[in-house]
């Protein structure tokens, strides 16, 4: 009788744990919650632009893996140009051009250290002038 009591207790314990996990899964619709730690503006978008995929499951961490410097905004902050600097020697310093689309900045050019000058045709004049002043363009010209 006593051993039955222990077995019932263990079964109850397992049912509670399993029931709790199943209930959590059902309530959350099978989707885990993702929380994004705060970071300076553009850091997240730039981290995504530095991510090539290819099986890696971790993105570079702002502050730990890279920093941004010389960030300039253009056309009422519709465009931004920033320079990515690695904290170690994981990659070369690179320039990224970002455009604000639906209230989120996304990389449209770069990261890169040199761009064909013909891309300037597709960019706002201020952004194109700034890239020219950075000396990161090459090629056939506008």
């Amino acid at each position: 009788m006593r051993s039955n009591k222990y077995i019932y207790s263990l079964v109850f314990l397992l049912l509670v744990v399993a029931g709790g996990l199943v209930a959590q899964y059902l309530i959350l619709g099978g989707a885990r919650e993702v929380k994004l730690p705060p970071a300076a503006s553009l850091m997240g978008s730039v981290a995504q632009s530095l991510y090539s995929g290819n099986g890696r499951t971790k993105l570079l961490t702002p502050g730990k893996d890279f920093n941004l410097k010389n960030t300039h905004y253009f056309n009422d902050s519709a465009w931004a140009v920033t320079t990515v600097t690695p904290t170690k020697q994981q990659f070369n310093q690179a320039v990224v051009v970002l455009e604000k689309k639906d209230s989120a900045y996304q990389a449209v050019l770069g990261p890169g250290s040199a761009f064909s000058s013909s891309v300037l045709v597709s960019l706002p004049t201020d952004v194109a002038s700034y890239l020219n002043s950075l000396g990161v363009t090459y090629g056939l010209g506008q």
Binding site: Y6, K101, Q106, V121, G139
Partner: protein, 216 residues
């Protein structure tokens, strides 16, 4: 086992059951709270190897899945990216409480920034054969790119390249005329030059109307 030990074991088991019960209640209440305060983002991609990530303006980015992902996020605007083989495609989503958003991203559809180097130019050697320098040909190529940055191919009909009228007593410059196809469009071009380092490109449609002038 003596009765004292049995009693202690029973109490320990009861305590464990109570802790598990309390834990389950806490887990469920937290889940209810999370479900009420977040929305669901479902991302799918025909590229089952694509790495999916999410970020927002004032936060870091996180990897959320390969090929597809289903996560809960706090309300707000997010940038979702899918990457594979160096190609990246982005989509923006607005997450609302207790709402689900579906997004399909295919890295193969990534928009590559147009460059003049990516355009397939053919028949341009015929311009050099007719007196233009490489520098002038590059200027002409840039002119075509300025006319239509999204162009894929520019093919000169090499049999149509002829020098334009030139009166040595009056004209200080020279010109070449030729027909070409720019993607699926047929155009007529006139290239004018008076030295070895500059050139002017004018394009005309089939009706003869000017559609582009590189000097403007």
């Amino acid at each position: 086992m003596d009765s004292g030990n049995r009693r202690r074991l029973s109490l320990a088991l009861y305590a464990l059951c109570l802790v598990a019960l309390a834990g389950a209640v806490y887990l469920i209440s937290q889940s209810v709270k999370t479900a009420g305060a977040t929305g669901i983002l479902r991302v799918s991609s025909p590229d089952k190897k694509s790495s999916i990530s999410v970020s927002r303006n004032d936060s870091t980015a996180k990897f959320i899945g390969v090929g597809n992902a289903k996560v809960r996020l706090a309300p707000g605007s997010y940038l979702v990216g899918a990457s594979d083989n160096g190609r990246q495609v982005y989509g923006t989503v607005i997450i609302k409480k207790q709402m689900a958003v579906n997004l399909n991203l295919n890295p193969a559809n990534a928009v590559v920034f147009p460059t003049v180097e990516a355009v397939n130019f053919s028949g341009f050697d015929s311009l050099i054969s007719n007196g233009l320098t490489s520098a002038q040909v590059n200027i002409i190529k840039s002119g075509f790119f300025r006319y239509k940055p999204t162009e894929k191919t520019v093919a000169i009909d090499t049999s149509s390249v002829v020098p334009g009228p030139h009166n040595p007593d009056v004209d200080i410059g020279f010109s070449l005329q030729f027909n070409l196809s720019l993607d699926s469009k047929t155009l007529k071009a006139v290239v004018s030059y008076s030295d070895l380092t500059s050139a002017r490109l004018q394009l005309f449609d089939q009706q003869g109307s000017a559609v582009f002038d590189s000097s403007k």
